[in-house]
Amino acid sequence: MTTPLLRLTAINKSFGPIDVLHDISLEVNRGEVLCLLGDNGAGKSTLIKILSGVHKPTSGTMEMDGRSVAFDSPRDASDHGIATVHQFGGTFPLMSIGRSFFVGAELTRRWGPLTIYDRKRANEIAVTEMRQLGITRIDDGDRLVGGLSGGERQALAIARAVHFGASVLILDEPTAALGVKEAAHVLRIVLQARRKGIAVIFITHNVVHALTVGDHFAVLIRGAKAADFRKGEKSREAITDLMAGGEQMAELEAEIESFSATDDGHAPHGASHA
């Protein structure tokens, strides 16, 4: 076996008295997509915030390429080649596309004795990188990010991560707010990144999306790793059950059916008159 690109061993995280993660051990390989699954509040975002240098683990170790690492800041993590598109935010509505693309890593050029922001080239690169991801409607890097659609913004954030040559790309629910077509775009980007040999960590609540791109799956239930398996090792039903927090999805469905059965007397009224 080759050494994994990223290895977590016995990671724990608590915020004061609240224990959020218990003994998480995980391996991420080059050119593979790891799907991180789990219910709301299971700790997925917290785990990837540890990987991206936002939080420090309370205990446990991280290794990259077999060498032990600890990230002091998000900057530190990105210097190690870990690029993250967080679940919330990540783009700046009132900034131009070009400026927003290079936030924290501004493109500069010499101007006499001064080093100045290179607006023209930043705009060009931002627009070109977005075109690579199939967003062709954007051709002006001076446009404000707040005027883009959700999918276009997501593409901007991902394009940025890809551009800066990450070896690990972390996407926290990138498809959650997207339409069918935009989501398909994002999935294609994930597969493109995988082909380049990038290790991708992909968080989603959508079983179809997970099964489409995932090579390897890890499921968190209330902060602990409940399952860790490779593609084809579990049935779709079993995965769905795990994603629902370990409950039997079939039972849930039966329950939902019984709701609609008892509602049958009332529901059609509202529905037919609507």
Partner: protein, 355 residues
């Protein structure tokens, strides 16, 4: 810097080049944060030219509002940067007199060389700004509250120490010709030299906001502080630097006022608190951060100064100036909101090549 762009020439070459036009379009015009403030300034200029008569348009008239604008402008610039980064600094209202009193007590009351007084006044500014910045990032209390506290604390300190050290709340200062020429003289008998310091400050701050990496960090922090930090921006250091610059500029104004007027008063300067915020907001800076421009701040400052001084050239009672400023502020904010929305939703309808 370690995280430089990794170029991907192969990939970039296969992609179609991004089209861009060098012609200023409606989009690029409407996207400028200062459109609204330009309209506002032209409006008040026309208004006072009509009602203020020839005197308002004379060199003396221009000097009266340019002098007010330059003192206010030196403070409004860093306040504008702070506001773009999502912060406020009310403590400038105490920083101005604290600095005036520092130089007057050291170089006037104790007779130390003027350089000592100047450096001490500016040093005090840097120190107060540093304290403001550290308090804001350590306590995570909104900067409005933190600087409201330092506003009062510093005012109390200035009053208390002045009375103890000089036995008075007003101290005379006699400065030599060099200090006078640099900080406290009138050119042509009318224009304060502060005007040139303001121009210098405009150039420096304009460079920082538009052309430096630091400027991009300021915009990003005001847009979304958490995302900015996640993107690797040293937000704490930027915050401290911004508070230090606003206090430094306020202390500069206090110091040069003491040299200009040959004396310092404990109670001068409170008007800078609101006036600087008004100038910045009229200038199109978003109060909640993330958006604004230096040209806008300059226009806002000029607008404020024109109304403030222009009223004396009209037949109206000077008390009406505040009413005009109030109405203007509201109108400017509404207009700026409209332009901001237009900037956000603007997208070229036609194909760019067709234009």
């Amino acid at each position: 810097m370690t995280s430089q762009a990794h170029h991907q020439p192969a990939a970039a070459a296969t992609a179609p080049p991004a089209p861009h036009s060098s012609m200023p379009s409606i989009g690029s015009l409407v996207r400028r944060p200062e459109v609204g403030s330009l309209i506002g300034m032209v409006a008040v200029l026309v208004f006072f030219s009509v009602f203020g008569g020839a005197n308002f348009m004379s060199a003396g008239g221009a000097a009266s509002w340019l002098n007010v604008a330059s003192e206010l402008g030196i403070i409004a610039l860093p306040i504008g940067l702070l506001m773009i980064a999502g912060h406020l600094d009310l403590s400038v209202g105490s920083m101005v007199p604290a600095s005036s009193m520092t130089i007057a007590i050291l170089s006037g009351h104790y007779g130390l060389p003027i350089v000592v007084g100047i450096l001490a006044a500016l040093g005090l500014g840097l120190a107060v700004g540093f304290i403001n910045g550290v308090l804001v990032i350590r306590t995570k209390v909104p900067s409005f509250v933190v600087t409201l506290a330092t506003l009062f604390a510093l005012a109390g300190l200035t009053l208390g120490l002045s009375v103890i050290l000089s036995g008075s709340t007003s101290v005379a200062l006699k400065s030599g010709p060099t200090a006078k020429l640099l900080f406290g003289d009138y050119l042509g008998g009318k224009f304060e030299v502060t005007l040139f310091w303001w121009i210098a400050a405009v150039l420096i701050v304009g460079f920082i906001l538009n052309f430096s990496r630091f400027g991009n960090w300021i915009l990003a922090m005001g847009g979304d502080a958490v995302s900015a930090r996640n993107a690797g921006i040293p937000t704490d250091r930027v915050t401290i630097a911004l508070f230090m610059s606003s206090s430094l500029c306020a202390s500069f104004v206090g110091m040069s006022q003491a040299i200009l007027y040959n004396s310092a008063q404990v109670a001068a300067g409170q008007s800078f608190i609101f006036n600087s915020i008004i100038a910045v907001v009229i200038g199109g800076v978003l109060l909640t951060g993330g958006y604004g421009s230096v040209v806008g701040i300059v226009l806002g400052t000029l607008t404020f100064a024109i109304v403030n001084q222009g009223i004396f050239y009209t037949g109206f009672d000077a008390n009406w100036a505040s009413l005009i400023i109030g109405v203007l502020l509201l109108a400017a904010v509404l207009m700026n909101n409209t332009f901001r929305t237009m900037a956000l939703t603007y997208a070229p309808r036609t194909k760019p090549r067709a234009r």
